[in-house]
């Protein structure tokens, strides 16, 4: 018994539910496991990159890939400082998350990959395709947060040890992946499920879990709110079902995460009144959001969309909308270049207030 997200996660390529083209591609890849290239899976949050990746591995190596265990590895940095890192691994693959390592990802990548790459995998007798796992797979989560140095360190390793090692990188956007890496990988885009795909997945869960449904509209609404994020959609469905006695009516309110609710209400406040007092309130909210580990960029993004999709008609004209988007991109840049998120978030709000007040 676990969250429905985990419960209904497909475990093999055959059970993958949406984007059948992609599934076909992966199946064809798995049919010739010896020729598996390095992969770079990219796509929005909750589109099933990891699920696909694991399903692909499963089809190559068998169900053993889900026998995961955690090792604690030690690394020594150049300054002789010891790092400890938890590495998730199965007999056939190993996982790395760069954000766990902070600034030292280069060392970890180098040492870990070399160690794996220099070991020949010998036990081929248990797999269905004898020579299939001559190589070991290395999954790099959030590859977009790999530092430049680490990516550079990957380049040579990917070529030199390609006999023993296959990389599967997962990332939200490819913009921070350097070109040499891109050219060495097969790029696979994982699209977010379309709304009707989402609905069909949700309805399958609904029947499995015996949730009573008043009409299909509610699933449509959930799919719409989830915005193509399957994980959010499933979580939303579960929390709604549990808090409404397993009965979903069309009138059932859709549950959103708190932080989104707060950002939306802040956007509404900005549209209603544009004073210094409002700015002070916004600042308090911003501090609160930041202290709840919501990254500044995410706040900016959500806030921008909430402002643009104004519930009050007539306030945001076409021109103002363009202005707000323009401001958002400016401040996004500032957030990247600077360190002090609160300055820029509040600056964005102040500028937006001015923009809304102006008559363009």
């Amino acid at each position: 018994m676990s969250l429905w997200v985990d419960k209904y996660r497909p475990k093999s390529l055959k059970t993958l539910s949406h984007s059948s083209d992609l599934t076909e591609l992966l199946t064809s890849l798995s049919e010739h496991p010896r020729d598996l290239p390095h992969l770079l899976l990219y796509g929005p949050n909750g589109s099933g990159k990891k699920t696909r990746c694991m399903a692909l591995l499963e089809s190559i190596f068998g169900p053993g890939v889900y026998r995961l265990k955690i090792d604690i590895r030690q690394f020594v940095t150049a300054s002789n400082r010891k790092l400890e890192l938890n590495v998730v691994s199965s007999p056939y693959h190993i996982e790395i998350t760069p954000s766990d390592m902070g600034n030292n990802d280069r060392i970890v990548i180098q040492e870990l990959l070399k160690e794996i790459a220099q070991m020949e995998q010998v036990d081929f007798e248990n797999s269905k395709e004898g020579l299939a796992h001559r190589y070991k797979c290395v999954i790099i989560n959030e590859a977009n947060s790999l530092s430049r140095d680490a990516q550079a360190a990957l380049r040579r390793t990917m070529e030199k040890y390609s006999k023993n090692i296959r990389l599967i990188m997962l990332c939200d956007s490819m913009s921070s992946i350097i070109a040499p890496i891109k050219s060495r990988c097969l790029l696979i885009r994982c699209p977010a499920p379309a709304n009707d795909e989402l609905v069909s997945i949700l309805s399958r869960i609904v029947t499995e879990e015996n949730v009573q449904l008043e009409s299909g509209v509610i699933l449509n609404n959930i799919a719409k709110e989830a915005n193509g994020n399957l994980r959010v959609a499933t979580l939303m469905l579960e929390s709604m079902a549990l808090s409404n006695e397993m009965q979903l009516k069309t009138s059932t309110t859709i549950i959103k995460p708190d932080w989104i609710v707060v950002v939306t209400s802040m956007a509404n406040k900005i549209q209603r009144e544009r004073t210094v007092g409002c700015l002070v309130e916004c600042r308090a909210v911003l501090y609160d959001l930041l202290s709840h580990c919501i990254p500044a960029k995410t706040i900016l993004q959500e806030l921008t969309f909430a402002l643009v999709n104004s519930p009050i008609p007539g306030i945001i004209t076409q021109n103002k909308m363009i202005k707000i988007i323009d401001l958002a991109s400016t401040f996004d840049e500032r957030l990247s270049l600077g360190n002090k998120a609160i300055f820029h978030l509040e600056g964005f709000i102040a500028k937006c207030m001015v923009a809304i007040d102006s008559d363009i």
């Binding site: 018994m1 676990s2 985990d6 909750g46 202290s291 300055f343």
Partner: protein
């Protein structure tokens, strides 16, 4: 210089001045006021001993050893010489045969002479060799030279005196208050050392902490071993050094007192660890000693005694709250130093001036004191600077030193950043904006703490008064804040060379938000710091959840990630567990939901436990640990709602989970009993028909094996279908195999209609040598 016998302290003995004095007889005859010697002394900057007697006059003492210098300077001793000859004549007046009045006259006369001579000397000397820093020259040499803090000084001395028994084997006079609680002797240190073994002196710079420590230790008869920031203080080095000074005996007679200066730096953690280590070891050793003393057994274990700390340690720092000191503080007797009073400082400065033949008006001295804000060192430095600055003549003309020129002469006294922030928002109507602007610029640059100032400005600007259309000004200032951000970032990238441009940003605040209407000082609340702290705490919570899931159920580890936890999973999980269970009427649905919830809690490795309520200190509330609501919940209203609603929920959930656990335990127990019975029956059966049917035997064997595996995992229902499939064991197995039954483990499984049989037989007594034996070899 030869070592001097420690002088008794003024507090311990009644008349400090005369205790240290040699008898007046010798005074008279020995021509103590030896000018030749004095000359040497002033040139080397040493003053042997100097007391202020009860009449307020300064008396200088020198050692006997200098007597041999008498002959060299003879001409000026006529006064002193006259005394020795005339001494007898006033016998009637004085028991020592010397007229004290005459003596005092002579002293004053001598000191006049002395000054003149010093004057001549200094004028000649100054050309010959570089002048010594006055700060060093006038560093207090004895207890009475100390300026201000008399009470604390005495406390330090008192603390050091407590070591006397341990160090000098000298019995202290019983203090009067000690008799009151004599019964608490258990707490007494066996060596009668003070309770806290380290003395920690803290206070602002330049008020003589180091000097006091040195003077007092000398006064108490210790020799000083100083370790300060200039010394290597990393790990082993300092450990060796400290141990050498503390535990080894020195060649000189006087025992060592360790003075650890400037211990509040950021790199001192190694040093502090060494100190704490010593204290801990000492505590252990002391306890053992106490124990041995109580049990009346003699210990001759020298090695154990070695850990005992028998030398005092004095630590000095500026900032008591430096993070490095956190752990040390509890072991320390903490003494805080205050600035000396202006009067005491003035007295001291005047004394120095008179000694240095400087004619400084009182007003200038007071100005100096005001400027330095109690910093004695700074005062003396400035004084010297003045003296050299005002020409070769030791005269400072008062008109030259009016207070405006002092401003530039004095050290840059920066005002604290929050005062500055308040000043930025205050426009003075009586001054031209240009003046005020340049003044502020100077202040800001002098302060240099641009980031702090800017955060202050940023926090305050919405609450100050200013004129604006809409929020134009905040919008404009955001560009400047970005500018500051970029400039400040250079601190980490280009060695901070762009940092100086940051000073323009607070001035921009002044331009935009400075207003005459802002009069009162506003408090700057450090929101940023708080936010960072909370963020860190929340991140820790998320990480701990991540970690728990990863270690407990590695299968999930691949799909759990921090960002997705924060953004999506935790908020929804929080919603799920705050479902209002009491409203649900349908029992069946309720049970399903509860089952679901328990599963989720288990899966996320969340536990229900009593926690302290945030709103009241005494009430405990049932909550989830790790507290995911702290991460997931933002809305104040919903937070309150959820917290109220949830507790009832949690009670129910907890009860259910307990119930489940009890049930499971019961089930386990029943199953275990069953299996034991089964085993017993099997054995009996085996014994009864040992030579019986092999097929029966295998069947029972398999059945018991099956049962065992079921017992191990009770969640899996006993499947009858597999039992049915276990149709028969091939009659192939023969008597030969049966003989091996007892030592070899057989694993039989038949699957489907094929009725295949696997027999695994391993020969050997341990895993290391055990190997598979093939069926064929058994048959042969």
């Amino acid at each position: 210089m030869d070592t001097q016998h420690p002088l008794p302290t003024p507090s311990a003995t009644g008349s400090p001045a005369f205790q240290g004095l040699p008898s007046l007889e010798t005074l008279g005859e020995s021509s103590l006021f030896d000018f030749g010697k004095q000359k040497e002394d002033t040139s080397s900057g040493e003053i042997i001993n100097q007391f202020i007697s009860s009449s307020g006059q300064t008396v200088q003492l020198q050692k006997k050893k200098m007597r041999n210098a008498n002959e060299t300077a003879s001409g000026e001793f006529s006064v002193a010489g006259a005394y020795s000859s005339n001494g007898q004549e006033w016998k009637g007046d004085d028991s020592y045969g010397i007229n004290i009045n005459n003596l005092l006259d002579a002293i004053s006369a001598k000191s006049n002479n002395d000054e003149e001579r010093a004057n001549v000397l200094s004028s000649t000397n100054s050309k010959k060799r570089p002048q010594k820093l006055w700060v060093e020259k006038w560093r207090p040499k004895s207890f009475i030279d100390l300026v201000g803090n008399e009470k604390t000084n005495r406390r330090i001395l008192g603390w050091l005196r407590q070591w006397s028994y341990a160090v000098f084997k000298e019995q202290l006079p019983e203090l009067p208050q000690k008799t009151h609680n004599n019964e608490v002797t258990v707490d007494m240190d066996p060596l009668q050392r003070p309770n806290k073994k380290i003395l920690l002196i803290h206070g602002p710079p330049g008020i003589g902490k180091t000097s006091v420590a040195h003077v007092v230790t000398k006064q108490a008869g210790f020799s000083v071993a100083e370790i300060n920031a200039s010394d290597e203080r990393a790990g082993q080095f300092v450990k060796d050094k400290v141990h050498n000074t503390l535990f080894n005996h020195t060649f000189s007679d006087s025992p060592v007192c360790l003075i650890a200066d400037e211990i509040d730096g950021s790199v001192e953690s190694g040093f502090i660890r060494v100190l704490i280590d010593i204290i801990n070891k000492d505590n252990k050793a002391t306890n053992r000693l106490r124990y041995l003393a109580n049990t009346q057994t003699k210990s001759k274990d020298k090695k154990r005694r070695k850990n005992l700390l028998v030398r005092p340690i004095i630590a000095i720092c500026n900032n008591l709250y430096a993070p490095a000191l956190e752990k040390l503080k509890q072991h320390c007797e903490i003494i805080s130093f205050k600035r000396p009073s202006d009067n005491a400082l003035q007295e001291r400065l005047e004394h120095i001036c008179s000694k240095e033949r400087l004619d400084v008006p009182i007003k200038t001295i007071n100005d100096l004191i005001d400027l330095a804000q109690g910093d004695v060192r700074n005062c003396i430095n400035n004084l010297q600077f003045m003296a050299t600055n005002s020409g070769s003549l030791n005269q400072i003309s008062p008109e030259k030193n009016d207070s405006s020129s002092w401003d530039t002469n004095g050290k840059d006294i920066s005002i604290s950043w929050f005062k500055l922030v308040n000043q930025i928002f205050r426009k003075d109507p009586h001054r031209s904006p240009k003046d005020q602007f340049s003044d502020l610029l100077r202040q800001v640059e002098m302060n240099g703490n641009y980031d702090r100032i800017l955060y202050g400005c940023f926090t305050l600007f919405p609450s100050v008064k200013y004129s604006d259309i809409g929020v134009m000004k905040p919008a404009e200032i955001s560009d400047w804040l970005y500018f500051h951000d970029l400039m400040f970032k250079s601190l980490f990238e280009h060695n901070g060379e762009l940092l100086r441009y940051s000073s323009s940003v607070p001035l921009m605040f002044f331009q935009k938000f400075g207003d005459i209407a802002n009069k009162t000082d506003l408090r700057v609340k450090n929101m940023d710091f708080e936010q960072r702290e909370v963020t860190r705490a929340n991140l820790d919570i998320v990480n701990s959840i991540c970690q728990a899931i990863k270690t407990e159920s590695p299968g999930m580890a691949a799909f759990i990630h921090r960002t997705s936890l924060i953004f999506e999973v935790l908020p929804y999980v929080d919603y799920m567990i705050s479902t209002d269970l009491t409203k649900i009427k349908n029992v069946k649905v309720k049970n399903i939901i509860i089952e679901n919830l328990l599963g989720i809690l288990k899966n996320m490795q969340l536990t229900l436990a009593n926690m302290n309520d945030d709103s009241s200190e005494f009430r405990t509330v049932l909550g989830v640990t790790p507290p995911i609501h702290k991460v997931a919940l933002l809305d104040q209203k919903r937070m309150k709602e959820a917290m109220n609603k949830r507790t009832g929920n949690f009670q129910l959930l907890l009860a259910k989970s307990e119930e489940k656990r009890v049930k499971k335990r019961h089930l386990d127990q029943v199953l275990r009993e069953k299996s034991i019975q089964e085993d017993a029956r099997n054995k009996r059966a085996k014994v009864s028909n040992n030579a019986g049917n092999t097929i029966d035997f295998f069947k029972s064997q398999y059945a018991s094996m099956k049962k065992n595996s079921n017992n191990e995992d009770d969640s899996r229902p006993v499947s009858n279908s597999t039992k049915g499939k276990l149709s028969f064991i091939s009659a192939n197995s023969n008597a030969k195999e049966e003989g091996d039954d007892d030592k070899a483990g057989h694993k039989n499984r038949s699957s489907g209609e094929n009725s295949r049989m696997w027999i695994k037989y391993k020969a050997g007594f341990s895993n290391a040598v055990r190997k598979n034996v093939t069926w064929n070899s058994l048959w042969q």
